[in-house]
């Protein structure tokens, strides 16, 4: 367990309180030498992913056309690039580690497990949004859920991992499949075989993920490296950090497993739990009201 990370704000980054404060941030990032290099390399590593997604999007034609295979190969190539391609030359992309790639990790067993699960997750997501048949979309989505629950397990979120499999993959996706079979009894419809605005959407996705990853890198980069001496020496620290330290010392240490999660849920968050219960009740009543209502047409056809 490394030292507690600082959450202090980088002075040169947050220029203003509003969202427009990010504009000089990215302008500075583009002009700065290593940051410009980093941003361009991130975009270059992500470009095959969204190009592959664009190629795989349905636009008529056969299901297993060679273009679709080419797109899938590009997606895999992009993920391999994320692991192997060095994104920074000078110092590590991630503080406190010697990694220069985006997905760099120390060579342990959990590193390989993480890479396998992340590969499966992102690839299944790309296949899910490009599948012609909605049934296949739902099945690929359940594969995303399975690999994501493996990722949660790597972070020690046992209960969340189990409930993702049980609730999401076991109940929600199955309900989706029921509705798909209810509403689409015969084959793929025409509107499933033609995507709209594929190129613009792929560019949007590329820019969105590039901005997200670059912002993450900028934030991680400005954090101090190495173990922090102690919280007590920084009284002006943010509330979040102090709260995290207190919880780390008390709750997670004394109840490292589901017991601690349950204690947090039913002591700190009990109002939210009650409100969530109310929300679920309202959703059940609303769903029955909406779907149970019989329209005139269907009544006439009977």
């Amino acid at each position: 367990m490394t030292g507690l990370p600082r959450l202090e704000r980088g002075t040169e980054l947050m220029a203003g309180p509003s969202l427009w404060g990010f504009a000089p941030l990215f302008a500075a990032g583009m002009l700065d030498g290593p940051l410009a290099q980093y941003s361009l390399r991130v975009l270059g590593a992500l470009l095959p992913l969204f190009l592959g997604v664009f190629l795989m999007l349905p636009r008529g034609g056969a299901d297993r056309s060679p273009i679709r295979w080419l797109g899938a190969a590009l997606v895999v190539l992009s993920l391999v690039l994320l692991v192997t391609f060095p994104l920074t030359s000078a110092d590590g992309a991630v503080p406190d580690s010697a990694a220069t790639t985006l997905w760099g990790l120390p060579q342990t067993i959990s590193c390989y497990t993480f890479h396998a699960l992340a590969f499966v997750s992102v690839t299944a997501a790309a296949l899910m949004i490009t599948a012609r048949n909605p049934v296949y979309s739902a099945l690929w989505f359940s594969l995303v859920l399975l690999s994501n629950s493996g990722l949660y397990l790597l972070q020690g979120a046992d209960f969340l991992s189990a409930s993702t499999i049980i609730v999401y993959a076991g109940a929600i996706v199955v309900t989706f499949l029921f509705v798909i079979m209810l509403a689409q009894p015969n084959g793929a419809a025409r509107y499933d075989r033609f995507a709209r605005e594929g190129l613009l959407s792929a560019v949007t996705g590329l820019l969105l993920s590039g901005v997200l990853i670059a912002a993450l890198h900028l934030v991680l980069r400005t954090e101090p490296r190495g173990p922090v001496a102690g919280i007590a020496s920084r009284p002006a620290d943010s509330v979040v950090t102090i709260h995290a330290a207190a919880n780390r010392n008390s709750l997670l240490a004394s109840h490292p497993h589901v017991a601690g999660l349950g204690r947090t849920l039913f002591t700190d968050q009990v109002v939210s739990v009650e409100i969530t219960g109310l929300l679920l009740l309202a959703a059940v009543v609303g769903a029955m009201l909406i779907a149970g209502h019989r329209t005139e047409e269907s009544h006439d056809r009977k």
Binding site: T2, D96, A118, H217, L252
Partner: protein, 169 residues
Amino acid sequence: MTGNDAWLNNYLVVGALLFSLGAVGFLTRRNLIVIFLCAELMLQGVSTTLVGFSGFHGTWGGQVSAIFSLALAAAEAGVALALFVMLFKRGFSLDVSIWSDLREEDQPPVEEEPLGDEPVEKPREWPHLAPAGRLPERQSAGTSVGGAAVAGAARHEPVTAGEGAGHHG
């Protein structure tokens, strides 16, 4: 086990990729159900981010938020699927563009790209089991099991009974 900076970075990258892919699918697809599945994929990206932060800080807050987003997704799926069933009963299609008249009154209609003129695909022919053996013949009331065995033996040598072949042909 709690993570360190490297783990947080990796989880944030996975979350960002899932979120962006969900956004791309949300923008491009026309099927209501697939659009909704893409929204769920974006929620998954957010949950991955939350779990990464939870491991990073060593607190339960991220996991609790992810559990709330799970409950939210369940409620959302229930209401949305009920809506899809009702819309399908009315319009007999899951295409989003036929519901564009639900827009505000003073808004201009959205100009959709025309669909290609490829014909609607036929229902797919799934493989089914080959019939195992031939159908058993209907036995007359008086035939016993031994008689059936004799009939089976006779089928293997049809040449012996010339008038039998004429009957069966």
